[in-house]
Symmetry: D2
Subunit: 347 residues, 4 copies
Amino acid sequence: MTSKSRGDESLIIVMNSDADAADVAHVVERLHDIGAEAHISEGRYRTVIGALGDREVIQQLPWEAFPGVERAVPVLKPFKFVSRDFQQEDSIVAVGNVPVGGGHFVPIAGPCAVESREQLFAAAEAVAKAGATILRGDAFKPRTSPYSFQGLEEKGLELLAEARDEFGLPFVAEVVDPRDVDLVASYADLIRVGTRNMANFTLLSELGRQNKPVLLKRGFTATIEEWLNAAEYIYKEGNHDIIMCERGIRTFETATRNTLDISAVPVIKGLSHLPIIVDPSHSGGRKELVAPLTRIAVASGADGFMVDVHPAPETALVDGAQAILPSEFTELMGEVRALAGVMGVEL
Amino acid sequence: MTSKSRGDESLIIVMNSDADAADVAHVVERLHDIGAEAHISEGRYRTVIGALGDREVIQQLPWEAFPGVERAVPVLKPFKFVSRDFQQEDSIVAVGNVPVGGGHFVPIAGPCAVESREQLFAAAEAVAKAGATILRGDAFKPRTSPYSFQGLEEKGLELLAEARDEFGLPFVAEVVDPRDVDLVASYADLIRVGTRNMANFTLLSELGRQNKPVLLKRGFTATIEEWLNAAEYIYKEGNHDIIMCERGIRTFETATRNTLDISAVPVIKGLSHLPIIVDPSHSGGRKELVAPLTRIAVASGADGFMVDVHPAPETALVDGAQAILPSEFTELMGEVRALAGVMGVEL
Amino acid sequence: MTSKSRGDESLIIVMNSDADAADVAHVVERLHDIGAEAHISEGRYRTVIGALGDREVIQQLPWEAFPGVERAVPVLKPFKFVSRDFQQEDSIVAVGNVPVGGGHFVPIAGPCAVESREQLFAAAEAVAKAGATILRGDAFKPRTSPYSFQGLEEKGLELLAEARDEFGLPFVAEVVDPRDVDLVASYADLIRVGTRNMANFTLLSELGRQNKPVLLKRGFTATIEEWLNAAEYIYKEGNHDIIMCERGIRTFETATRNTLDISAVPVIKGLSHLPIIVDPSHSGGRKELVAPLTRIAVASGADGFMVDVHPAPETALVDGAQAILPSEFTELMGEVRALAGVMGVEL
Amino acid sequence: MTSKSRGDESLIIVMNSDADAADVAHVVERLHDIGAEAHISEGRYRTVIGALGDREVIQQLPWEAFPGVERAVPVLKPFKFVSRDFQQEDSIVAVGNVPVGGGHFVPIAGPCAVESREQLFAAAEAVAKAGATILRGDAFKPRTSPYSFQGLEEKGLELLAEARDEFGLPFVAEVVDPRDVDLVASYADLIRVGTRNMANFTLLSELGRQNKPVLLKRGFTATIEEWLNAAEYIYKEGNHDIIMCERGIRTFETATRNTLDISAVPVIKGLSHLPIIVDPSHSGGRKELVAPLTRIAVASGADGFMVDVHPAPETALVDGAQAILPSEFTELMGEVRALAGVMGVEL
């Protein structure tokens, strides 16, 4: 036998085995109050109520607080604008004059933190020559230990802007404080949200209200769904130029700094129209993993990658253990080009 | 508007946004083939099919392999006999003459591994005097490193049986090989399945076919649902005397050997009628955590706890770092009695 | 044979099996440059260098970027002021006139978010009468979905201050934006850093520079060491009044919203002098787990707990599924008092 | 200043801040008893003892059970024979006449479980034609639910042997019970240890004592170090023909069945001489992820991959959701060849 309802079933409400008819009626009534419909399945063990209607409205109510409700299982994803349901074709984000996504593959490279003019320019010159199309370098660094170097701040941004002019590469830099959004946006071509700030909704909202593109790193403990929700925060404020960046998640494995969740690339490609790149340096946390993880990134179908390159990693003030030398980056770019050729993407 | 169906909705099949009518019809037809019913909700983004009928039949089919299916979300749990739906009242398991569960609280103590007559008897005498009602001690040890001590085997079981006679405590011992089930069952009063074997279905089936009670440790990476499924394996073969044992799960935290998931106690109490105890020694992996985690176990509503007690932990061949001294156990039992009094359980 | 060195061995530098004498000499030389000493162990497989000296200096260098270095293993913890090494006796933090820590146990209760005068006052009156000594209630909420209620902002703080005057309870409220620290500090008696902001170092620094006590929730993916580092951020800016709050970590288990890491209580008590409380509501995420997890918190040796109490959870705009009723809170307080009596702490 | 010792520093013993001279002397004495040496570093906060000598001996003692010891940190890895320290050059394992490792790349394909002659032969013919060099297919299946299909047992092995003769492909099959090792070994060319049995040491030891090569899947919650320890179990019993297989680990992410830890490939290549392959089917658990994860496997430097191919996934009795069609496998092999060409490996 088959029965039918019309409407988006956005939530399944599973009742307790000892819920009574009044409990069911109460849930149904509340659904009707908010303009939704109910489909009730009465079983031997449980009654199950399918809630049909507008997901944003239905999913806001605390259904599990209702008498007799055991749990509420969402059927439709909570994000909307960043989903493939909303937009079928790939988004292409312009960083300066460099397109990212939709078949445009982007190598991003440079020092983790800007430490000095010499250090930045040596790295920038080398990565530009090797074929990077965007420069990385941070002026503000969020550090686990309060005793660590925290960045050159505005001076760092000025140096990055000089390097852009000198070597013709637009640059990406991190912002860590909502009060600095305007400052960073006035210099950078692409503003990065670091892994620790993926759920800093205050910062996301500010970024949604300015007009530079945003590179949104995955929180190292965020599910893919939460990460897309974070992108939705930026998108719904008006800024649609968002690039996702997978950088490893926290697991029980200790041989690597984080576990690169490379499956996130095809999963995001399925769920969303946004471009996605991979950060091999911060995933593995060790220089010898940078080359294999970069090759993997190309083969995964990602739209680019971002690596730390430092002229003298031993002297690096931040994350030297994972930085590669300019010469190693040049060699890596050869492998990247060969694999990108097989994958049919354009550098 | 409200619609209704009859039958246990045991699975929600969510179609892709580009699934067509033929894909939906195909799923529905297959449901009918196996005697189930379908309720179809047609939404703007997705069609969602509720499958109503026998869960064991419905959940066996590979719905996500069907054309147009995005995912299949189970509504009813996969286990049956061990659930509270199947049996409302608490099970009480008799270990020798010691009842466990349903308000009967059991302290289990003794050495991790049986090393010698002297070691075992010193520990057994002390824990009996302090008020333990079941003795622990292993004759077979699964060890991560092949270079570690693997147990005294049958000799160890003989010593345990002697200690039982001497001190009047039934004993629990681990089995690690399906070929040893009969041997262990011929000596022990309670047979333990260790964390590494929770999903050793071969072993579980053997244990389901003999008649000694089973202490089923949670796999350190098992969800509560998988753990109850493992109990179901034993139950459905005919052995209904099963005690669950929470012993910590694997997480990113490294300050403790495992993360004691104490919430598992009330969760299991809600989902199942089986007794559940806690192992503070193997959760924390450090002797100074044994006392606080034991107090926590009592307050959690667990039906007992199991701790490693060793007369000379420094000389222990297995897990000495987490063993407490007999004198420490005696002191701990005082605290346990006081808390058990507040919790209203009987030692 | 035994050899000896003087100085704190704060880092172990393990060389590769193919590192040569020059690589070792280079590491040693760099250690000398920064005022540290080296102890070299030459083995068959590896040379291992123990670095002796000031940990803050030694641990800043990127040792793993040096040629021939395989890995660098810290021996001493990176935090200092918040450690028991630095201060042996328990810190006692005064929240308004309520002491927390050092044997002073504090029940904190109230609504998750302030929604209206009626809702807040109904909850506050009930929890005050039942024996809570601090009121909770948020005016700013960080929400995963951009479509959710974000708080009443300053109006919420005004209502909380009114409730404090009416019912005599100091209150705790969350701050989510560094720009709001002064505002929240001008109203609240205790300022909460939420789990998503534990690593928001910008916010932590601001909180370290004002003089209201801080309740620092554990990031749901933070190790205990990272959490203590976050406390160190606040402490070193000058604010020493910090209370830690365990609220569950992210694991593979899905039966609970988070996994309450109750072992963190005794672990923190061992490593640090700061008080620590437990949040049973946000750990489990389900109302039926609040009472068992609160009992567990008392037995763990924590210095208090914080629960969501709402007069009508069904209508709650935030986290209704985990709120308990005022009547349930009253009953819970009876159990808390009985267990606290056994634990020897003072409510 | 620099001091020196000779000998492998295999363990660092960190004393408590309140350990006294007698505690230190006691540890040192015990080290001398077992033939090891000690290097003592006396710091302001802690004394740290480096233990020099044979790691298998030193790491067996329960140092954390000694008075005054805070923790013991291993410096050298616990495995030996499977490490690159022991053997520099890559091992090449012969499966029938197919070499695996050392530049020899192997595509393994076939049904997850053998269900019937028709099903197996249809799959085998297709994968042979497309270029697979080893056939997969199981006769014994460990299943989470006791209500699921458990395999055709010996009948399945006979069918696999027939398919081998017919299509010229050696085959791999799983063993789940130590009592079946001889049976499976009498048919199969390569014996698989499934993820749930990686720490079934009884089974590993049996496999170490027979002479067919072993494919050792990573436990979905095993660290890389534990996985190599499991290989050491087999190796030290005399069987050196071991291939590692990465198949995803358990994390908090729920969008995929497991999280493929692709970094494990380069990490294992660094630590061990054993070949390693990747299982894209069981990692992702969804058919649409098979192709991207296979491309990733090639780019990672793995020595092969193993995928589920089924002529009619909808009817599959096991894991249909992740099986691809023969036609999809053929297409995938084209991509694999192109990428393998770039990676310089031989199919």
